[in-house]
Every structure is written in C-alpha cells, then in structure tokens.
Point group: C2
Chain length 442, copies 2
C-alpha cells in the first residue's frame, strides 16, 4: 500500500499511518467526515485530502485543525464494469472532437488512474446523462492546451467538423481548452460556410475530478444543444452562472473569456446569449440566430486563412516603431485602439504608410464592449483618411481572425475592406441595447 | 447676420435664406419643429440643424426630407450676466485641473460660442450646483484628447495635484478625456505617495452641450467627492448606470473603460466601486480604502517613471519575433496572456532570453477579470522557470504603469520583482468575491 500525497498532506497523513484507500474519520470543529482516502490527483495542492464519502461524492478537506482516525485499512476499490456503448436508434449521432484542455485532464477516483479520452464508454461512465441525449463517439485530433493552438489547428478542427457533419452527424461537439476557445469558435464560424447544424465548443474551468467541476453540466448542455438545439452556428457552451445550474450558448464571434478562473468566465459581448441550457432543457434567450436545417448537412469548408496577421493594443506613449515593425512583418494589422477606436496622434502617419504599402489596418476598441466610431472625433477622422478599416462592433480577437480569413481570399485592399465590413457570421451589426453591457451593481 | 453651418446643412439652409438665430419651422413627415436656429457647434456634423425650442430644449434635426419655413428673422440671443465668483468661507477649495477631452469641448447654445475652460464662472453658470459644494478654480494644464497623452503628461498632472494639495486644497479634480483616463488614474496612484486627500478624475462620454450629457452629474459627483469624500485615493468618478442618476467612485488602479460609448463605460475590475454618488449624497459601497486625513496635505510626489515599457497581448500563433522585438526595444515588457496568464509554448524560450538580458517580463491576463496563477498548468510553471513576474490581479494596463514606476526607481531585477508583487496603491490583493464579476444575465 502507498500514499499518493505530497508535502504537508503527506506529513500529516503518514504520521498517522494513513494510506491510500483506508477508511478514515476526520473531525474538523463540529464537522465529521467518514470515507475512503482517494489517491491524490496530480492537479491538487498539498493541503487537502480527498475522501470518497459513502454517498459516492468526493470531498477535498483542508488539513488544518483536523483530528484523523483510521477506521479500516483499505484495499483498492474494484473498478466496476463499464457498460459497452450501445447505439440507440432513437438518438442522433454527435461526435466529440477532442483537442485537449482541462476538460480532457482528469482522474478516475475509483482507481486513481488518469482517464484517457480515447474511449467514450469511460466518459459515459462519468456522465451517464449523455447516453440519454446522443449517440456519442470520440474523434481525437490532438491534445493541446489551447494557448498553443494556431490557425493550423483551427483548420484541422474545421475539417473534422466538416467530415462529421457531412457523414450525417446532427451536430458536433469540440472539447477544447478555455484559454483561446473564443478564438477557435470565431475561426470555425468563418471557415464553416453554409452551416446547417450546431457546432459546439465546450471546455471546463475546473477539471472533471474536482467536486467543483463545471465539466459535467457543460458536457450535458453541449450534447443537448448539439442534438436538439435549433441553431446552426459555431457557439461556446459553458457555465452561465457561478453555480452549477445552467450553461449559456454564446455565439462564437461574440464570445470572450472575461475571467481567469470563474466557471462563468465566458460571456457574450454586445448581445445576449442565444440560449440558456439546464440539465433538463434549452431555453432560447434570443431569436437572432442562423436556424438548423434538417437533412444531410450541406456545410462547406472554406479554410483559407492567412495566419500572418498581428493584433496590437495601443497604450499611452506607444512608440511608432512598434507599429511600424508590425506593418512590415505582417500581411495585416488589427489595432485595438482606445475608446471609439483611437490611437495616439503620432501613430497616424505610420498607419497611413502601412496602408499605402498594401497592408490592411483594421481598427477595433480595447474597451471590448460597444463599437468603434471614427466619425466623432478628429483622431478617428484622421484614421479614416489614413485608410483604416473600421471594425464596427467586432471584438479585436474576432477582427484578427476575420482579417486572416479575408487575406486568405484576396490581397485586394478594397475587397478586403468590403469583406471586413460585411457581416458573415453574426460578427457585425449587433443592436446594442442597454441590457447587453454586463455591469450589474445597480 | 451669418450662418454658422457647413457642407450639406449650409447648402440647404442658405438656399432658403436661413441665418443664425432665425425663427424657423421644420416639417419632417408628420413632425413639426419650431424654434431658433443655433449657430453650429464645431463638434457637430454637417447634416443637422440645431433648433432651440420654446421649451428651452435644443434638438438636432437631420436635414433629409424636410420642409423649412422662415417665421421671423433673428437677432442674437442676449447672453445673460454671469455672476462673478465669490469665495465662500464655509466651503473647501478644490482645483479643477483641466487636461482636455470631451468634458472641455462644449458650446454655449445661448450664444453659439465655444466656451473656454479658462473661467470657472462659466462652468458655474452651467453647473451652478458646484458653487454650493466647493470653491473651485481652474488650473489649465493642456488641452489634449486623452489618446495623445504620454507619461510626461501624467507627470505634469501629478505635479499640479501635488502643488494644489500642498497649498491647501481639500481634494483635486482633473478634467480628462475618457480614452485613457484609467491609465492616468493608475499613474497618479503610484506617483502621489502618502496621499491624504481625494484625487478625482472626471470626464464625459457625451459633451456638455448635448441633452444626454453625463458631464453635469459627473462634475457634481466629482466635486462632492473631492470636498467631502472620506477617501485619499486616485479615483475615477463617472456614471455608474446608463441613466443620469448616480456616479461610481472607482479606484484608479482597478478601473477600466469597458464600453466605447455608454455613460457607464467605466467599471471596477475585481472589486466593487468604492462609493456611489448622487446629486445629493455619497453612499459608501466599500470600507476598503485609504482614508482622508485632515489638515494641510503631506502628500509626496514621486514621479520617476521609465516610459520605455511595452504592453503586448498574445494571440494564437503570435510569432516569437514580435515578442523578441519588444524585448530588445523596451526596458520592460508586460504580457497580457490568455486565461490564467499563459502564452504560446514557442514564446517561452524567448521570454527566458528577455529576462536573462535584464529586461523584466510581467505576466497578466487579457481576461481582465480574475488573477493570474502560474502554478496550475505546465505553461504557467514554465513561465515561472523562465523568470517572469506574475501580475496577480492587476489589470494589464496597471501592470504596465507599475512596471514603468518600478523601472523608474531601480534596474535591479529582484527589486523590480519585489515592487511588482508588493501592493502599493490597492492594485494587488483584491478579494475576488462572486459579486465582483459583472455579468448579470441571471
């Protein structure tokens, strides 16, 4: 027998002779916990012990001010048989395209083993609700934390979605790291033309082996949207509140990760969520979406992207050579300006030179919410004279990807201008009602 | 008599013999307007005429599909006497330090003249409430839209605040453009040490000559905070809601412009507003602030800033030479990473080289809300090994300014690390309660 804990937890537990799978009782003030010691998952800190309670639920207990009593020496819990996957004729087929991220990093507490994502049976063992909603299969593409993704990865994902939909899937789910999920969701929105089924990005902010995980609800909501959702868009399905009660369906081109760690980190910018999904049902919050079309998918793949595009945020005193470097190094530049889309005065001649050299410059706002308007102030008007393309209500990140898409199709400045200012996938033209700005200290 | 209009408006109006101050009637479909033609303010476009209605209210009418009839030739409206400024012994002295921005661009519709900001009497004529709260005087520094400000401007402002407080002001108000107001507010928070009075940045999203202006409430709230607020911090006082009902007092190092155009564009990140101020009173929303101290100010000026610092936001596929350029060009680099503070894998060796060359690299998150945590994932741990300084819960913009401040004081890497990780002005160590993340679609 062994003890899979480190640091402080190891010191405390081993001093009491506690080993993995022992049944112990922990008193902490007036609280008493009784359960089986679960080998420590890699991602945990060194200050908690994980107990599997008789209820089957796992808790992490902070090892401070505790009394511990060993009730019974343990033996490894037998892994129960995982039912093999059976195809249900009454449910649609939906692939789970696996790309990596927290949602794929998890530990099976019943064995201590890291679960691979190669067998959907294992996922269904953890989230059995999925088997009631969809016939699921895994499409493993790669295993990357999403900060490492590039436009090439987006192309692979788009191709996998295209293949799956063309072969009859009712929708597609993509398990994805959360860091750049909104970039990928926007990229798919541009690359999957004539989309007629839902394409769902899903991830988790806390891994599936933690009591506070958001993965289970997110997966259920994603499956429900993929199978039953009335939409045909590339969307993000993640927690809509800090509680484990519902997920939001957020249009990919209007989504942004706005919090480092909260379960409801993804929020729509400039429009309401498309829908709210609980474990039981889908509630539409908007009627503005591209509708699902029945029958075999006619989706088209248009994955021409020019990856050589820069995204620059201006700051007070930003020197012009920084912008000049980008203008010479890249085939397109997106500026996240201040306020309505402004840049420091001394950058404007450089902007003009970059545009004159044939490199399009798109202006967005680092405010994120709202829309650029280059007509209001002198700075904006001078930027227009310099030849910039106003990004409307597009997020800087979305303008970046759209400019990659435009440059993938043409190098003609006027055609690029036309593409950037034409709505392709819901990225432009949001009606900015008062209630689509989030602050709620009212 | 003359006509102060340009372009299309001039063509239409002059073809009908309309001049400034004429009484005219405009029919537009079923609508009829009757009023006095007000000389066109500079900031207006060329397609509207401004009428002063008999109600005293001004409207801008879009000159398309209109029928116009001249009812009476005009004579200039007499300007009423502006009362001269009288010092009230029972009220504190507070300077209005003028730096430019929308709040200083306005037109007196009763005369058509652009009001200069050189005479506080004129401001008090428009916002007479101020005279009941403070003895105000103008300190004109410069007139710049805030996108054009640099660390040199921040130094000038800090010096003016220092001088005014040292000579006995109970607080200071700074009229400022909104584009980079949060940068200036953070810079003042670091440069004004041992602060014992409130320093208030105020601006407006809509100019004071528009019916929807936010300037009047913001000025009243700013004056009230400067004169009576119990705090000694550099704060932003701007609308707290889209209505004209109250302003928020937001700690400068925790404030961000999050909307291009809304009146409540400024929001606190990671903490609640310090207070809510109506036309009548101050309501504290937090008890976490540096308190005002009575008596002659002992504030100190520490304006050593190294302006040569870059702020880079990473994006999927960002090439390493972009980061390398910044590492060679600047004396410090702030990275706005993804999620918990991550960068693409291939940037990490370059980060290491930059740090090894003696250039500090601070990591923040482009999520804006939350805090970086480089212990959770491999990417973060590798960044720590490469020598980055974690930015905690600082906004990227605040980390930029703090790094300018740190580099203004030392070039010793370990001392810079210590400064960046020590709370100086409330920029670090927010307690991230569930209610300090704004989304409110619940």
């Amino acid at each position: 027998m062994t003890l899979h804990y480190k640091g402080k937890a190891k010191r405390i537990l081993s001093s009491l002779g506690v080993e993995d799978y022992d049944r112990i009782r922990i008193r902490k003030g007036s609280l008493v916990y009784e359960g089986i010691v679960i080998p420590r998952p890699e991602i945990f800190d060194d200050e908690h012990v994980i107990l599997k309670l008789d209820s089957g639920y796992n808790v992490g207990i902070y090892l401070d001010g505790v009394e511990i009593e060993v009730l019974e020496k343990g033996k490894p819990i037998q892994r129960r048989e995982i039912p093999s996957l059976r195809f249900r004729e009454d449910l649609p087929y939906v692939p789970l395209i696996v790309t990596g991220g927290t949602i794929t990093s998890r530990v099976d507490y019943s064995t201590g083993a890291v679960i691979s994502h190669e067998k959907p049976e294992e996922l269904l063992d953890i989230v059995p609700e999925l088997a009631e909603i969809v016939n699921i299969d895994y499409v493993p593409l790669f295993a990357e934390f999403s900060e490492n993704l590039t436009p090439d990865h987006w192309r692979k994902i788009a191709k996998a979605v295209y293949d799956e939909l063309r072969k009859g899937a009712e929708g597609a789910i993509i398990a994805h790291g959360t860091d750049t999920m909104h970039f990928t969701a926007a990229a798919l929105a541009f690359m999957l033309r004539n989309l007629d089924k839902p394409v769902i990005l899903v991830g988790s902010q806390r891994s599936i082996d933690r009591p506070s995980t958001d993965a289970i609800l997110n997966l259920i909501a994603a499956a429900r949207m993929a199978a039953q959702g009335p939409i045909a868009e590339s969307v993000i399905v993640m927690h809509g509140s800090p509680h484990d009660d519902y997920a939001f369906v957020i249009r990919g081109v209007k989504a942004r990760k706005l919090h480092t760690s909260r379960r409801d980190a993804f929020q729509p910018v400039n429009e309401p969520p498309i829908a709210k999904v609980t474990r039981e049902k889908i509630e539409l919050l908007s009627n503005k979406f591209n509708p699902r079309r029945e029958g075999r998918s006619q989706v088209e793949l248009d994955d021409r992207l020019e990856p050589n595009v820069a995204l620059l945020h201006v700051w007070p005193g930003m020197p012009e050579d920084m912008l000049r470097y980008a203008g010479e190094r890249f085939k397109g530049v997106v500026i996240a300006g201040t306020g309505l889309g402004h840049v420091p005065r001394w950058l404007i001649p450089t902007v003009g030179e970059i545009v004159s050299s044939g490199v399009p410059v798109v202006v967005t706002s680092q405010c994120l919410f709202g829309r650029v308007d280059l007509q209001v102030y002198e700075t904006g008007r001078r930027l227009l004279v310099a030849g910039v393309i106003p990004g409307g209500d597009m997020l800087p990140e979305v303008a970046l990807i759209k400019l990659m898409y435009a440059l993938g199709h043409t190098s003609d400045m006027e055609e690029i201008r036309r593409i950037m200012q034409t709505n392709i996938a819901g990225e432009l033209g949001a009606h900015l009602g008062l209630n689509v700005f989030p602050p709620c200290w009212r």
